[in-house]
Amino acid sequence: MNLVEDSDMGDAAENYDATQSSGNVSFNGTFDTGNGGLTGLVTKMRAGTPIVMTWILSGTKASGSAIGVTGTFTMDKFTRKTGKKDLVTFSATGKFSGVLVDASNL
């Protein structure tokens, strides 16, 4: 959360307004070519398409009990690396647009 000072002359103490929130997301691990989620990340990044993300913190998805957080991010980097004797690894990052929202019944 970015804070902007809005104190006036003569105030006894500094005042701050909360303005825009910001957030980043990152992923890394072994790249599985058969994992549609991973290939989807790079496809969305190339297209510049925002990605809706849902974190389920408790409960089971689509059961009526799931509670979590939702948000939207846009990928800005996707790196893959491999060698003749190496696993294929990847790392990816993105930035959130808008606020993260607590949600239930996910």
Binding site: Q20, G83, D86, F96
Partner: protein, 319 residues
Amino acid sequence: MAKGKGNLSAIYMQTSAASVTQSAIAMSRVGTTMWWKPTNPIMQYFDKAHTITVKDGGTTITTVQEISYAGGYVRLLTVPAGVVTVDAYVFACSQVGGFSAHNIDENMTLAECSCYEDGDGEQYEALQYSASGQASGFYSTVDAFLTMSKGANKDLTLTSNVLGDGSANDGVSATSFEIVVAGNNTALSVVVTVAAIVVNSATGVAGAATSTARDILDALNASPEAMALVKAKLATGSNGSGIPGALAHTHLSGGVNPAAFDKFGQDLIGVFYWDKGTALARTEGLVTFEKVSLKGGVKSLIEKTINFKVQGPLYDHSG
């Protein structure tokens, strides 16, 4: 999840002086995806400077989503009713090598577009895509070669040491190889006349060949004249214990036309494989090598680590 294991990459370059117009290039659908690619692989390098026209049963399709010039792929929005064909300008191309390791960085520049004190989270929009990478362990595939086919454990592979041999510049090397079986109780010998390598196989009392592939390999390696022309090794899967016998006079072939190497600095097709064993996947695009001196020719790059930039988009394909 199955273990991922890296595979190699392949680099192709233009070998024709200019692209040539091709009409009604037959296209095949890639699995159940919305991508179509040329049925004939020699049509895989589209010239991006010319318009590509995609047709469905002879009628031009206006709903083409993307064109991958490096692989000759087109992506459609809807499944066509008829046969897909393409009118395009096409470069001839040949593989010149590849790398034993690579990494690719793909980036999307994001611009913050939120308003001051709008009370919401920061907003970003995607602006421009770019990609670059680094690859190491360059290997060359530009040389003419010959793999014998005499049978199990009888075969050698000879690879030309000379880039640019062959008066016709057609990839057929001036270097030739022959195994002669003649006479009785003769000794193994190697005779080189200009670019012709002749191996005289040892023979027995009845005139049958007695030199094994391993014997011939050792004899070639002991001949400075032969080694100036070729590198020799046992063919893949051969232990050299078999006796190949006679081999007719055969020129090495499959080399890249040396006249084409003045285009090596231009857009190259990069094919980078990501392999998890059960589902081979690759990323393709046009790449340009950075900070590479081509004065020594493509072979001077062997084993080098090279940085490259991607021209335009990259595309992932499976299979």
